[in-house]
Subunit: 202 residues, 2 copies
DNA sequence: ACCTGAACACCGTTCAAGT
DNA sequence: ACCTGAACACCGTTCAAGT
């Protein structure tokens, strides 16, 4: 295990993120990053042991966007702020965002975000023994929702195909008037409201 | 757009699934699939237009495992059956499962599953206008949970690292005795119970 | 109808060498 | 301390050809 240089790591991650944002994740090759940084591909291996570690670095980069943690007033507001920031992050970096769910990488910033969620749930009155589970429940939904949006699982195309197949899908036929997703912001907000009712039953 | 042969599609998908299960997703190359089928890589292009379409075929293969849909009694039981089947599917095919969330592919089997969920929610008394949203809420959580398990987001390693970083994470320190995930089956069950309370408030 | 061979433009990564 | 060049063992895919 050689010691890695850190000096140009941020610069390299910037280049990698830019490539992913502009041309997608499969355009993100070591060679492309090197070219953007103005260096030979092999030079990158002084800063990251391999491509996997570079991708982990990219995940860290996204998480530090989430970490700031406004002082926030009520637990609902703090929890909502993180949820909306997560969704915004997915829209800003749709190619890289899936890596947050796909790669296990516990970064300091990631821990900070989880800690803020724990605190919000404690303030909401969730019993200590239930807090970690509820945190996983909420964060799993929020990340899954954001991922579904950017990966197209919720897209119009899906809905249309679904409708055209209505013949052998009776419930689809019955709900035909309601399948349209009109306003995703409103849907996300309604979902969060429902989850808050799990956290603190009214 | 040439017309594709279908004769050996199932055989090819079997080979692809086996490779992914045995050696992971990044070992799943056209060349590896071809070798397993006993054919030249180029022969595959008579059955799938490209690798992406082969992966879509793989997603379809997973979805048809979910589709059967037992007659089931209560709406809770039917919804629970699909949720547990989804989680089981992820554990059986951890490498391929993420593609379900990553790739937009609306297959007939996928529509069947969604239709069953719609029907369960209708039977639960959810207003028609809310059914599609609640279906997305539930399926997003279930798939996100299953994905988190197989991708290691919930793993012990994460928890340990989190604990060791407890210094600057006060809520973690306070909850130290409860971070342990002991029983994931129980957690999933508790989560489903909480979601059912959203569906039909007690 | 089904398959092959050769080729093209890519990959990540190792190793030895250069300043 | 930092970077390069050449090389290796891979990729997905096109094209023209073969039975």
């Amino acid at each position: 295990m050689r010691k890695l240089k850190t000096s140009r790591q941020p610069e390299i991650l910037d280049a990698a993120l830019a490539i992913a944002d502009e041309r997608g994740l499969e355009a993100l090759s070591m060679r492309a990053v090197a070219e953007r940084v103005g260096v030979t591909p092999m030079a990158l291996y002084g800063y990251f042991r391999n491509k996997d570690e570079l991708l982990d670095g990219l995940v860290g980069r996204l998480l530090d966007r989430l970490a700031p943690g406004d002082p926030g007033q009520t637990w609902q507001e703090r929890l909502g702020a993180i949820a909306w920031a997560t969704r915004r992050l997915a829209r800003e970096h749709p190619s890289v965002f899936p890596l947050l769910l796909l790669r296990t990488s516990v970064t300091p910033d990631g821990v900070q975000v989880v800690d803020q969620l724990y605190q919000a749930l404690l303030d909401a009155g969730v019993p200590e023994a239930d807090v970690p589970r509820i945190e996983r429940l909420v964060s799993t939904f929020v990340m899954g929702f954001a991922l579904s949006e950017v990966s197209g699982r919720f897209s119009d195309a899906s809905r249309d195909i679904r409708l055209s197949r209505g013949a052998d899908a009776p419930a689809h036929r019955r709900l035909a008037g309601h399948l349209t997703p009109d306003d995703w912001d409103a849907e996300f907000e309604a979902d969060l409201a429902d989850l808050m009712r799990i956290i603190r039953p009214v």
